[in-house]
Symmetry: C2
Subunit: 341 residues, 2 copies
DNA sequence: CGGGGGATTGTTACCGGTCACAGTGACCGG
DNA sequence: CCGGTCACTGTGACCGGTAACAATCCCCCG
């Protein structure tokens, strides 16, 4: 295979020194237009492309940032990755991804280390299993932004406003007249599960409604089957609630399928609010009222923060992106007369 | 920031030459165990990590492959990316991704070129908008594997057996007794749309059923709304069919929502078969009979082929991965007598 | 006791860029 | 006519590794 042409090949062809070629490439002013043109022609003729590797050697820069994600095939994180990639490219950087899933034994830090060895200039970690701290690993001077992670010193966190989302969802149910509102949380290792649950509690508390622990059920995973099973437990244990706030749309859909199999109708018997606003949410039966999150923007914001940090040396403050309740048909006023109403 | 230690720092500390350090790092045998130990201690003490950049300079290798994808947030391609990433890492490579979407003006070749400049050693392109040819671009000696792409000389293609999937789906409907079977295809720019449609035709032909063009409708996109609109056109134009084979689960779900809004029931009035077996497919109402594709494995196979090509210099043959029909409740025999209302 | 040969280690060049500094020639003023 | 300045270009070192080859040491044999 014909070796890639180097800067010296171009120099020879143009009859100048390699340094002059370098100057032309980097747009230095101190080159006569005649020489510049000659060099450019030579570059074109040889279809020369500067080697980023060689460049990186002196500049010690790779123009790449890394994304370590729990599960790139999860809709939320796929969107995040897409957003991060777009922002990175917009600013002349490459995004290198690593998906951790299925390697449960290996924690994220191993991948972070791998990326650091690869000399990425910044790192994004999405929903780390373990709490991330800055000093950790040889993360030494590589700026790190975490998505959906616990706050920690030295780590910038980008997230959606899970607490606010939980509050909005439950506020909406309360406004429709519901009082006995159940919830299915996500895995409690995830900060977002806590935050949404907090929002749920806050909302009920503010409305003067007692928060009954028996109405809080946990889904051990993000799967539809987990949602279905959680709903089954809820119905067996504490029937009589009129609404459900689910951690995610998938869990909501799983829960609805359990309701259907028991002959309960949504929203006539039980109203349901989901979370995520995945594409199918608008087309389920009934269309799902849910909380929409700006997933792309989370990725963009994370990448943007990392890139700022690379440029300026200081990591900015984290960001909490707003969410929005999307009202569809899965919520109605409680039909069954309640003891209080 | 304290500069990263170099091989020469380690050498000095261990009291040897940098070359000896290099030998230790690369596991050459010709180093006395005493020296080896001394060097390793120095490496450890300085927490020295070899620079892949400098390595890449001499070896001209980056140990990375690139993935250019139409839309990384699409479920299929997210899974493909996850599979490719796993296979790449398993073999000591990194996966660099670029998502093309939202930059409709720029075709894939621009991104491929970008990746080549970055000196990736191999390339995977997923569902290219434009036909890809090997000679194109300075793809010169970089092995290229395409996913869901048209066959072309010099390009290895990995795909799922779309034709077989279409045939299996329609065969199943025929076995249930259906004769008037409609189909909604995907965008006709995608080879998979053609292939699945071919499978549909082959199956009908083999059963001696006339293929009516009025029963073939096209969805202009991959969205649920496209499926819904296509179903509306189909019902307006050629009512009376008893079954639908949809290009994807999302399109199927969109189509079902249109049926529901017209008071038609699935599968009592119309049976539906989807494609993809996305997670929600098992939890829709009714649960969707669909064609399951080994998405991860497509990614793994593509990465594997690229990596083989890097090692051996020759690109192997493409692969067509088998699909599997998953039978759920969205298909019934036609004209099931309505036992009530 | 000198030399061959293997084991071990050091020296130097090189990968393909960038950086610091040195040169060259034209033009200008004194 | 000569020195100085400016615009432009070239030279050599260096980034942090690897490759090729040379050098050294030690052992053993003739």
């Amino acid at each position: 295979m014909a070796r890639q042409p180097t800067i010296r090949d171009v120099a020879e062809r143009a009859g100048v020194s390699h340094q002059t070629v370098s100057r032309v490439i980097n747009g230095h002013e101190l080159v006569s237009s005649a020489t510049r043109e000659r060099v450019q022609r030579a570059i074109h003729e040889l279809s020369y492309v500067p080697s980023p590797i060689a460049r990186g050697l002196t500049s010690n820069r790779t123009h790449s940032i890394g994304l370590v994600s729990t599960d790139i095939s999860d809709h939320f994180f796929a969107q995040v990755a897409a957003g991060a990639e777009i922002e990175a490219r917009r600013r002349g950087y490459y995004l290198v991804i690593a998906s951790v899933e299925e390697h449960a034994e290996a924690d994220e830090t191993a991948y972070l280390r791998l990326m650091v060895e690869r000399r990425v200039e910044g790192l994004i970690v999405a929903r780390p299993r373990l709490p991330i701290t800055a000093g950790q690993v040889p993360l030494q001077r590589v700026p790190l932004v975490a998505i959906a992670a616990r706050e920690a010193p030295g780590v910038t966190v980008v997230d959606v406003d899970n607490r606010g989302g939980g509050r909005e969802a439950v506020d909406f149910l309360l406004r429709q007249g519901h009082r006995r509102i159940a919830t299915i949380t996500g895995p409690m290792e995830w900060p977002s599960s806590h935050a949404r649950l907090e929002g749920y509690r806050e909302s009920l508390y503010a409305a003067g409604v007692t928060v009954s622990p028996s109405l809080v059920e946990q889904a051990p995973g993000w799967d539809l089957a987990d949602g279905r099973a959680a709903m089954a437990r809820l119905l067996d244990r504490a029937p009589g609630f009129t609404a459900l706030f689910a951690y995610s749309d998938l869990i909501a859909i799983g829960a609805i399928s359990e309701l259907r199999s028991r002959g309960l109708r949504v929203p006539r018997d039980i109203s349901v609010v989901g979370y995520d606003d995945i594409p199918v949410a608008a087309y389920t039966d009934p269309p799902l009222t849910t909380v929409s999150q700006p997933m792309r923007e989370v990725g963009e914001a994370a990448a943007s923060l990392v890139l700022d940090a690379i440029g300026e040396g200081t990591t900015g403050l984290g960001r909490l992106l707003p969410v929005r309740l999307v009202v569809r048909a899965s919520v109605a006023a409680p039909g069954t007369p309640d003891s209080g109403g």
